[in-house]
């Protein structure tokens, strides 16, 4: 039985590493490059009123920036294709990235808190944000959350009274 040579194993490993890398690079190009194309051909022309200007037209700077982002995204894509894959095992040390559930939930509950704050004022809004955020991060101890709410309410009351 012939054992695969070291060169073959490395090549195979590189190929294995390369396909997810290629997908990642493609996804990045699609998001960043696609975003810049949307900005150049849709957002900026539709959302910028034309006006005669001596120095620069109002849309010139945004278009220049969006074009630069698009070109840099293409450059980044090509660079990630040309870059040699990391040495065997290097990728493993990075570990798996945690999911985004906590972050998304925090944004959502803060949105709710912001709505409460705009409707009912700083004190109620502050308490709402504190309770909701504490729940998202798994803090269910009533005493601790209650004490934190009291502290937040005190600070919010001070801000309210100071007329900031």
């Amino acid at each position: 039985m012939t054992q695969p040579s070291l060169a073959q194993t490395t090549e195979g490993g590189e190929r294995d590493q390369r396909s997810p890398k290629l997908l990642q690079a493609l996804a990045e190009l699609a998001v960043v490059g696609g975003g810049s194309l949307i900005a150049i051909f849709w957002v900026i022309p539709n959302q910028t009123a034309s006006a005669s200007a001596y120095g620069m037209s109002p849309s010139m700077m945004p278009i220049a920036c969006a074009t630069a982002i698009g070109l840099l995204a293409v450059f980044q894509f090509l660079a990630s294709l040309l870059r040699r894959p990391a040495a065997s095992g290097a990728g493993k040390t990075e570990g798996k990235r945690p999911g985004m559930t906590a972050a998304v939930l925090l944004v959502l509950v803060t949105c709710i808190g912001a709505y409460v704050l705009s409707r009912f004022g700083l004190v109620v809004g502050g308490i709402a944000v504190t309770v909701l955020v504490s729940l998202v991060i798994g803090e269910f101890r009533l005493l601790r959350t209650g004490a934190l709410c009291c502290a937040v309410a005190g600070v919010m009351l001070l801000i309210d009274l100071s007329g900031l």
């Binding site: 009123a49 945004p62 982002i69 980044q76 925090l106 944000v129 934190l148």
Partner: protein, 500 residues
């Protein structure tokens, strides 16, 4: 002379001194707490200054920044967890010293070195900013545009991740800075019909969202992951005599002076920041070690080296800010928003337009350094206890401040939603290797950059070859190209996301 005296009188007014004191106190607490970085805390602190007089507001924020840099050492020494990324290098010698029962000595050295670095760097700021501003006034719009292109490229090159991602972040900052009314024709740009966007994306919402809120999202994620593992480092309590002899102090002096110089250099060069400054200074101190020095195993010189450099960075990073209006670090960029909030635009003209305020700030900075020594020395053991505050209390508290701070800027919920949107953008950028720091610096310098570019086009009559008649501009543009070429070479990139 009259302006200097008036500025000093303002800085010694009760309001300004009290602001410095509370700023130092708050800064220490922030610095000590692991999980709340200096730029994030500074971004949250800016809205507190809305109703303050300009001198008190800036003095307060300067106090927060300086003390948080000094306080970061407490966690690094006692907990092996730096309160600030820039104090990470302090762990190398600080924690072994604490384990050896010399925690108090290490904390004292960190404090004295921080105060020394801070005062010397502030003196450098006072000596250099005005002459450089006078020179900058001789530069035209073309030169200013070239300087900004160079600075953004350099900052992008030093940011974490690839150079192209760094540049994309900076240019995205410039792009989002164009939202609002066009400066020349006053026509709306990318406002989607929302009146709230006519003034542009709120600056405070951007800084709070991108720094503080993003950081809380990351911390919450890390906290939930840690909860599963339940692994905590045991804290060391400062104990023992902890007295420092004069002989020991003299032994530490050369390395403290050397590291202060490194910190000043790291502050003046845009993009380097305190983390790189502290690591660089530690590396140089280690390279120039004398026989008998025990770097890495518990050497007081190691603590002095990192802390002196860390604290020397901020005052020095204000040199380019006052001289040419370019923030050298993200803390300086946040200070720009505070200046603008109080009707002051930092740049070379500030010495002519607000001399009294500038001299007042200088004096306040010196007062803040001395106050830091006083507060730090008195509260040495007390601050050590703050390291025990759990992150599950910090996260909700900081998020509430993010929400309220953004709300107070314009008194509308729109600012909060803008903060949340930018916070999510910052979180995604960080997650996928795009530099938030470069984005924010691009966002802050965006309006000045656009103005300079417009003026350059008018001056050159849209003829690119006219640039050749401006050697300084050519020099900076070539330096930008050189930065791209040098940092694109494999192995030449400094990968240290400094958070500042």
């Amino acid at each position: 002379m009259q302006d200097i005296l008036l500025g000093a009188a303002d800085a010694f007014s009760i309001g300004a001194v009290v602001s410095v004191f509370f700023g130092i106190l708050l800064g220490y607490v922030i610095g000590v707490l692991p999980g709340l970085s200096r730029p994030a805390a500074l971004a949250v602190a800016v809205p507190i200054t809305y109703s303050m007089a300009p001198i008190s507001a800036i003095a307060f924020l300067v106090g927060v920044t300086k003390a948080s840099a000094a306080g970061g050492a407490t966690g690094a020494i006692l907990l092996n967890t730096p309160g600030e990324p820039s104090s990470a290098a302090t762990r190398f010698d600080g924690y072994p010293l604490a384990l050896a029962g010399r925690a108090t000595q290490a904390l004292k050295v960190a404090l004295y070195a921080s105060v020394f670095g801070d005062i010397v760097s502030t003196l450098a700021l006072i000596a250099l900013a005005k002459p450089l501003a006078a020179f900058a006034l001789k530069m035209g719009p073309l030169e200013m545009t070239a300087v900004m292109i160079f600075a953004l490229t350099f900052i992008a090159a030093l940011s974490d991740g690839s150079l192209s991602r760094g540049l994309i972040s900076g240019v995205l900052g410039l792009l989002l800075a164009t939202v609002g009314l066009d400066p020349e024709s006053a026509t709306p740009r990318m406002t989607f019909g929302m009146i709230e966007l006519f003034d542009g994306i709120p600056l405070i919402a951007a800084t709070v969202g991108m720094l503080a809120f993003t950081e809380m999202l990351t911390q919450a994620e890390a906290y939930l992951a840690r909860k599963k593992r339940a692994a905590e480092t045991e804290a060391v309590t400062p104990q023992g005599d902890g007295r420092l002899s004069w002989r020991e102090m003299l032994r530490l002096t050369p390395v403290t002076v050397q590291s202060t110089a490194v910190g000043i250099a790291a502050g003046v060069i845009p993009g380097l920041g305190p983390t790189i400054g502290a690591f660089l200074s530690y590396a140089i101190a280690k390279k120039t070690a004398r026989p008998g020095d025990r770097y890495g195993k518990g050497e007081l010189k190691g603590v002095a080296a990192t802390e002196a450099a860390d604290n020397a960075v901020l005052p020095a990073s204000m040199i380019p800010l006052f001289a040419i209006g370019l923030p050298g670090s993200v803390s300086a960029a946040i200070l720009v928003s505070a200046f603008m909030l109080h009707g002051v635009v930092p740049g070379p003209l500030v010495f002519d337009q607000h001399p009294r305020l500038i001299y007042g700030i200088y004096v306040s900075m010196i007062v803040a350094s001395l106050c830091m020594l006083f507060v730090g020395r008195i509260g040495l053991h007390l601050f050590a206890k703050i390291t025990a505050v759990p992150i599950s209390i910090i996260i909700p508290f900081v998020i509430v401040f993010c929400v309220v701070g953004s709300f107070l800027e314009r008194d509308t919920a729109f600012s909060i939603y803008a903060m949340l949107g930018l916070g999510m953008l910052g979180y995604l950028m960080q997650r996928y290797g795009y530099s938030v720091i470069t984005f924010l610096i691009g966002f802050v310098v965006g309006p000045i950059f656009e103005l300079s570019l417009r003026q350059s086009l008018i001056v050159t009559h849209h003829d690119a070859t006219k640039v050749l008649e401006h050697p300084i501009a050519i020099g900076f543009l070539l330096a930008a190209v050189a930065a791209v070429v040098i940092f694109m070479r494999p192995g030449k990139r400094i990968v240290l996301e400094s958070a500042d």
